[in-house]
């Protein structure tokens, strides 16, 4: 445990060091509270996550936004990229190209909801059919030692996000493409397994509470409906989802997808 705490401290130090040592050029805004307004000229790129941007002055670089839209009243010398939003030109000028991706889905939440549900229903069928026993094992493990697994899962989620960001930046030298692909593949496999575990846990506990004797597939669908309902609860839903996903993530890594085999050939000393 001490080692893990040390490594978390080390990670935080490196993370904050990198965020304080930004040069005057590139500016990074992660989930700012208010709309980002650029009033002074900027010599470098601007990257905003989770908020809109308004450009009133000259920017010698590119402007990119993930999960927000861009209003340009000034001048941007390079590209303008908006993912999940749109780019508005109000007497402004863009030297490079304007790219907008996923504008349709960004606005319409119902599309997302239906696509998401369909995806999860197919995944439930697949997962339950081929890895049903492992999912159950993982769900029991998840319920067994929640707090420890939460801390471990949160830690590994942070590491995955950092690794993803670094490998994404490394796309500039080519090697990042492979690294990013590997990281995102690993992450998505663990994520899928963890969410299926959450479904089983939800369905199992609810059916146990109501004393219903239903099959595993119905339990999973019950879990899916609870999961989708959580999205409509403001703040608490997001918090609960983050906590539960972290714990489930930890359980998946800890139990190695419910097999309880050791990672990297290390022996297990408990509960064998």
């Amino acid at each position: 445990m001490r080692r893990i705490l040390f490594s978390i401290g080390f990670l935080l130090i490196t993370f904050f060091y990198s965020s304080f040592s930004f040069s005057k050029g590139t500016r990074l805004y992660m989930f700012p509270a208010h709309k980002v307004v650029i009033k002074k000229p900027v010599y470098g790129d601007i990257l905003v996550i989770g908020q809109d941007v308004e450009v009133l002055n000259v920017i010698e670089g590119s402007v990119s936004v993930i999960g927000g839209s861009i209003k340009i009243k000034g001048e941007v010398s390079k590209n303008c990229v908006s993912i999940g939003g749109n780019v508005e030109l109000l007497n402004g000028k863009v030297g490079g190209e304007i790219v907008t991706i996923g504008e349709l889905f960004g606005k319409n939440r119902l599309y997302w909801f239906f696509l998401n549900s369909l995806f999860w229903i197919i995944t439930i069928g697949f997962g339950l059919y081929f890895y049903g026993d492992r999912l159950k094992e993982n769900a029991f493990e998840f319920a067994d030692d929640f707090m420890r697994l939460f801390f471990f899962g949160f830690y590994s989620l942070i590491i995955f996000v950092l690794l993803g960001l670094i490998s994404f930046a490394l796309i500039q030298i080519g090697v990042g493409i492979v690294l990013f692909f590997v990281i995102s593949l690993l992450f998505s496999i663990i994520y899928l397994f963890s969410v299926l575990t959450i479904f089983y846990f939800f369905g199992n506990s609810v059916s146990g509470f109501l004393k219903l004797n239903v099959s595993d597939a119905v339990k999973m669908l019950l879990g899916l409906s609870i999961y989708q309902a959580l999205k409509f609860v403001p703040l608490f839903g997001f918090l609960a989802f983050t906590v539960i996903l972290s714990a489930s993530f930890g359980a998946t890594i800890y139990s190695k997808f419910g097999t309880f085999k050791p990672w990297f050939g290390m022996p297990r000393f408990w509960g064998e």
Binding site: V81, V99, Q172
Partner: protein, 170 residues
């Protein structure tokens, strides 16, 4: 090697007639080759008899059958997926037949063109955002070194922590 030597195999099997058995036993007194063979065979037989017999657990059959059932279940699953794909392909072929090949090809052309445009803009977006991230430390020649160093340290720490976490006694 004479004719009697050829009786060796049948002697070991014990299928010789009494007359020939006596003949072969007399032959063994002076044929060293045959004698060695027979002795070797007896030794192997004795050693084989020394191995203790293993008792198969009662649930062994059930375990094997369960594995077989699991395998079959998986196989049936893949068959279902395969047949779904085949039905989808067949339906699409029938659809193409009714709509007309030229219309389908032209619509595919437009679809692929728009997909290409999308891929192009997606690539541009990825490149722009990654360039912004890459220049976080300022436009330097050794940014890649810093990033590779950070990546390797992070992955090392993560692997170590997964190891130590799964090693702890609970």
């Amino acid at each position: 090697m004479n004719k009697v030597c050829k009786l060796l195999e049948r002697y070991i099997e014990g299928t010789l007639s009494e007359e020939k058995e006596v003949l072969f036993e007399n032959h063994l007194k002076y044929c060293l080759n045959c004698k060695r063979e027979v002795e070797l065979y007896r030794k192997v037989e004795d050693n084989l008899n020394l191995i203790p017999s293993v008792k198969v657990p009662d649930v062994f059959k059930d375990l094997v059958m369960e594995r077989v059932r699991e395998y079959r279940k998986k196989l049936i699953g893949w068959y279902i997926y395969g047949s779904a794909v085949t039905i989808f392909l067949l339906l699409s072929f029938i659809g193409i037949y009714f709509i007309g090949v030229s219309k389908v090809i032209s619509s595919f052309y437009f679809l692929s063109k728009s997909l290409c445009d999308f891929a192009q803009s997606f690539g541009l977006a990825v490149f722009t955002i990654s360039a912004s991230l890459y220049n976080c430390f300022g436009v330097g020649r050794f940014n890649w070194l810093i990033y590779l160093f950070l990546f390797s340290i992070l992955s090392f720490v993560f692997v170590r922590s997964v190891k130590s976490f799964s090693k702890e006694v609970r």
